[in-house]
Amino acid sequence: MKKIFSYDIVRGVIGQLIGTPIGFGLVAGIQALLGRPLNAEPAYVVGAVFGVLGFLIGLGAFSDWYHMVLGEEVHEPEEIQDPPGARRYWGLSFDHKVIGVQYGILSMVLLALGGTFALIFRTELAASGRQFLSFQLFNSLVGLHGMVLIASILMGIAAISNYVIPLLIGARDMAFPRLNALSFWVAVPASLVLVSSLALGGFETGWTGYAPLSIRGPMGIQLFFVGVWFVGWSSILGALNLIATIVRMRTPGMAMFNMPILAWSVLATSIMALTATQLIGLAFQMTLFERLLGMSFFDPAGGGNPILYQHLFWFYSHPAVYIFVLPGLGVISELLPVFVRKPLFGYRWIAMSSLGIALVGFLVWAHHMFAAGMEEYLRVPFMYSTLLVAVPTGVKFFSWTATMWQGKMRLQTPMYFLLGAISVFLVGGITGPMAGTVSTDLHITDSYYIVGHFHATMFGGYIFPVFAAIYYWFPKITGRRMSEKLGKWHFWLLYIGFMVTSFGQMRIGLLGMRRRIADYDAALGFDLPHMIITIAGYMVAVAVLLFFINLYHGARAGEPAKGNLWESRSPEWLAPSPMPVHNYDTPVVVVGEPYDYGLEGSKYVEVNQPVAPAAQAAD
């Protein structure tokens, strides 16, 4: 029993279980003192907030800061010994590699959950007519599918950034290790709150939470708001940390234009996450207040404006799309040269295109609102800015193509996923301009076309690259390799399943299938396409299941990874696997360009560390 309590996460959950009733009781008690009948909604909201704080206190996330406030000595993060083995992943750790893996685990749990939600309502939609879901549950699942997977993606990019970025730039850790731990751990109770919205009746607005629909209806929406609000904190603090790390923690002699290209993408993403996330937090917070306190921000019945909500919401939620995909695109640029044995074509252009996407990404949000009823003239400037995104995105595609041209491509599992990423993101990219020109968008907005287009950008820009990254860096984390054979099964099932889903959705969307409907008229003739999409959806699920099996099997009994197994020029592969606790013994020395594959005798960095002896034997 005592052993269980020594796991920080257990104490955290207990903290949340204690905090929630305290918050609930506080509000309920005040209501009772005033002689009012119980109004449960504010009690649940305060309970949820207290629960998150209770988790963090129980976990010990604030302990060091508390001692600092009292003027007491605390250990430097570097001096702290994590518990050995897999146990360290279940507790508070300040090591960026542990936190990276923790982010990864949370991301995968949320991926499985969000994917399961999709399978449930996908099954409902396999045929016309209503099968087994109530309207309210259908709507709740659609909304949670969206938001749970957004949280999963945020955790996933944080996992890659946290684990890989300090290694790539030769740093010993992130700039602010304690803040780093807090940014991860706040997302754990936040995810619990988010999913528990189902227990309070769910919500019927989808992930967009448009007012005034969100102001009526079940109170599950409040936990949805609170959960997202705290996930937002995770994102903002993590981004702050990454910017400081990339700007200040590079190994001496590594110029910005000489750092691995992934660092540029993560920098661009972090700038966006740091500055835009507040807006969705604000939009949700205002709706929460409108429900609790009757402040009429958005409901026209009280003098509010529902369009205002959409502006606030999309000012984050459009850049969010780039927050999700830029790290993935960075992974493509980072790994492509390794697997085609050729320098990255146009390094500076690719680096600048990430910043270009980040900049233009801030100026396009209202293209989600072409049919929403905002000022009509505004649609034209937003059409121009939206189509401009095609320019830096095109630079990336052309540069990748030129990188592959005349390369000596090695078709290992990560390379399969890179090719999948490029072709799926291509589909997502080229189907975008149709939603950018206003008059065509008036037809396709809020239809399944948008569903297909959006999922293609997410799969191409995040899902496929993140799988490539996991297959690539998994041996660095565990010292073992994942199965290439299972990896290729995983790839083909995912690729074919996804392409069928996406093309099917776009096809019926153009013909008149609306988004987010629990049922459709059989007369539309969409029964067969929906059945095919559903089967393809299950293929995607089987693929991800194979991936989980591969992950588990690889960690337990995978072939030991020997030395620089991808023959990469990157510093992390010149050090032993699994990575030593404080990364590099001596500072990494930069002696060349990062991607000069094919330039004989050149090196990117020198790492003064005994590489596993098998490094030479690999030849």
């Binding site: 309207f135 709507n139 607005t205 989808g206 967009t208 448009y210 005034p212 629909l213 009526r216 209806g217 026209p300 404006n305 529902p306 369009i307 044995r341 050729k342 320098p343 074509f345 146009g346 390094y347 252009w349 049919a371 009823g373 034209v380 059409m383 189509l387 401009l388 095609a390 630079v395 030129a402 592959m404 005349q406 390369g407 000596k408 491509m409 090695r410 078709l411 090719l419 291509l426 080229i430 301009p433 149709m434 020109t437 206003v438 008059s439 008036l442 037809h443 809020d446 153009l510 013909l511 008149g512 609306r514 988004r515 987010r516 409907i517 049922d519 459709y520 000069d596 094919g598 004989e600």
Partner: protein
Amino acid sequence: MSDAEIEPRKKVLIASANPLFAKGLQKVYGEKWGAESVDFNLAGSMEETLARLESWQPELVIVDYDDRTIHREAFLSHFIAGDRPMQVMLVSLQASGEVVVYDRRTLTPAQAEDWMGVPARPAHNPAKLKSRSGNMKHFLIAGTLVIVSTALISLLFFAVGLLPDQASTQAVTIDTLFNAHFVIIAFLFSLITVFVVYSAVVFRSKPGEKQEGAYFTGNTRLEVIWTVIPLVTVLGFSYWGAQNLAEIREEAAQPLNVRVVGYQWAWLFEYPDYGVTSTTLYLPVNKQALLSLTSRDVIHSFWVPEFRVKQDVLPGENLVKQLRVTPNKVGNYEVMCAELCGGAHAYMNSPVQVVSQAEFETWLSEQVNAVEADPAARGQKWAEINCTSCHTLDGASLVGPTWKGLYGSQVELEDGSTVTVDDAYLLESILDPNKLIHKGYPPNVMPATYGDLLTDEQIQDIIAFIQTVD
């Protein structure tokens, strides 16, 4: 360079960060010139080299031109500034062993140009030249494939037919833009896919092969080209898009005014010029309809796929939005709500009938003249407009309880008690639906506003109608 130029005991400085390079050259030239006639000195960095130039005053400097830590401009200015006799020999091992010699006294501006331009990285070696003609062949094959693939995919798109029927002049305009998008999609898809697949198939390594790819790191001219061409294209497309938008918003002189009211979960169409209200949207063909859209509760969205255009329907008196549609094809269509509006969003559809002008007039006059004497018949009409999207007449349970056999039955309430459905119960449930909660149907679903929306007479008509449903 002849050996005679090197007088006995000449001083030779070798500048390279690579010790192997320096040692190797020392050995080669030491044997060539005779070790006793030459003094060698090795410098491993730029600072060291410049310092030795001053302190040691060599006659010949051998520079490793593959070493990028050497700052050429600084070196050149230093070289031409002095007046002591000095020669510089540039040796590149990587660029096929190129050797160039410059003399301080005879250096011409053209030579200085050359010096600055000598590639630090190998660029023009014979292997590269050979691969260039091979490259041309690959480009031609891939380029042809792109053209073929673009044509095939475009053909496929138009053969399959990606869009629903065109039933409005706006749809005709919008579809020209759609078709341009389809061709661009076919082209861009082919362009990238062909080159990527070609690279994967033709250039890939055989299993176990350890060869590296061709070495080139970028090409600024290419980057500028593939930045500027897309930039011009998207600006052009945006301009066209703006024209297209203006065209579909063109106002006809005397449009038919229709007020469209959306509410959870049905549509209502009012013709204010004729005092007619309908649950079907009747429109005369070839006459522009000016729809003024408003909602009673949350946001809905008006979409008839065959008309192409869509407009969200907002609550709030100051947020009435307009949409212009000119149907050009007689037929039956459906308007559906495209913005998630909760509950029975999926069923928020109403029929749209585009009819000839004559039929439209006939329908209008029928509507205007139809005054029912029977309260239940009137009630049925009010119910169709207000109630039956949630309360079925056939026994099915939708959002609210069905009306079939409701009147006179015993209803179990949420608090466990039962009540007999009579006029008083129905009236109360219409005016304040949150008071007596029918078991299984949660509160706060039915709007509590029907007392304001309907006249007392209309409510009595509806109750009379409910009595007849069994």
